[in-house]
Point group: C2
Chain length 187, copies 2
DNA sequence: TCAAAATAGTGATGTAGATCACATTCGCTC
DNA sequence: GAGCGAATGTGATCTACATCACTATTTTGA
């Protein structure tokens, strides 16, 4: 199977020969999911992290007051899992749901640690990737601190153009931290 | 100089012999700062990340409306820098200010990359540390999404007990994303 | 050591967005 | 392609917190 886009993704941070890539690829398994299937459900043990080859997924949860919150959208080339649960070998807080038919590459915790030990470059890849994810998430935190809802909406539109078309409005609203009524009034 | 607490900190994720630690230590320099000195000022190039040996620092910035926001408190055993600027070799958005006399260990970008290349365990250390930082910051984002100000105040008190005594109220308020008037009314 | 500045508390009023209630339209399933 | 539940839009009202205005206290530095 041709997974040039995955190799491209890795090469954003490290450079690889074909042989190295093929070897790395053996640590991953492949999975297809249908729209409205769950990749992870809350309270399950989380043993994998996923790289999205195609499709669209969201991670989210329902808080103690019954309100839904969206943590992350994942489109092509994104990684997704419940990180807290994955790194701490514990149970998921979040649900991860397919909004469209999707294909993902799966990497177990054990394989990931082994991959980092076996292939030095991949240790570096995950380190750099983690640093970038931190910065990206920090930017999102900043928008929560500095912007009002209307501005956050515009920022989301900039970051993922076309997402509005693909995602139910109530999920967009839950990502932005407003009610669907408020979001509706922005449009 | 005895830096047992730094070795302890590293050993949260990796195990080291005395020799290994001493070698790693040579990549860092030492710096003392006085209260109200800046470690980083916005618009400066950021070439170092810092591990706090003692004292108390905050990173923050002033937004386009002139409102101040606090990103992070750093006490003993915390790392602090403007990560966006540090990883992207660019200029700081944040100021990092000493609220108390402080001592830090300094690691330049070049030395950090070299350290990761020279000492495999340190590549792993920074990878794991970055993953944990991501999760910790995600928890903070969640409190912004799910809790009201009063609850966020209680959560901050839990995470850093005693901080209220050490930090001006307007800085606490800016960390929590409320005005100092609102914070004052919680107490 | 003393004046100026920064910090902190509190009341009155304004406002973004939540909540509730209901109408309309869209998209499945049989 | 009829029928039913989910998704969406919109008005009326409510509320947490911001903003403004003023006073009291503490810190600082000349």
């Amino acid at each position: 199977m041709n997974e040039a886009s995955f190799q491209h993704h890795l090469e954003k941070y490290i450079s690889l020969t074909e042989q190295e890539f093929d070897f790395i690829r053996t640590y991953f398994t492949h999975k297809k999911l249908k729209r409205s299937e769950y990749l992870i459900q809350s309270d399950q043990l989380v043993n994998h992290t996923y790289w999205v080859k195609s499709g669209l997924l969201v991670s989210g949860f329902t808080d103690s007051k019954g309100k839904e919150h969206i943590i992350q959208f994942a489109i092509e080339n994104c990684w997704i899992t419940d990180q807290q649960a994955f790194y701490n070998r514990s149970k998921a807080t979040f649900n991860i749901l397919c909004l469209e038919d999707s294909e993902v590459l799966c990497l177990s915790y054990q394989k990931r640690e082994k991959l980092c030990a076996d292939v030095y470059k991949m240790n570096t890849f995950f380190r750099k990737k983690a640093n970038d994810s931190f910065v990206k998430q920090q930017r999102r935190l900043l928008t929560y601190m500095t912007s009002e809802a209307k501005e956050r909406y515009n920022l989301l539109m900039q970051e993922y153009p076309g997402l509005v078309q693909r995602v139910p409005k109530k999920i967009l609203a839950a990502y932005m931290g407003v009610t669907r009524e408020t979001l509706s009034r922005f449009r």
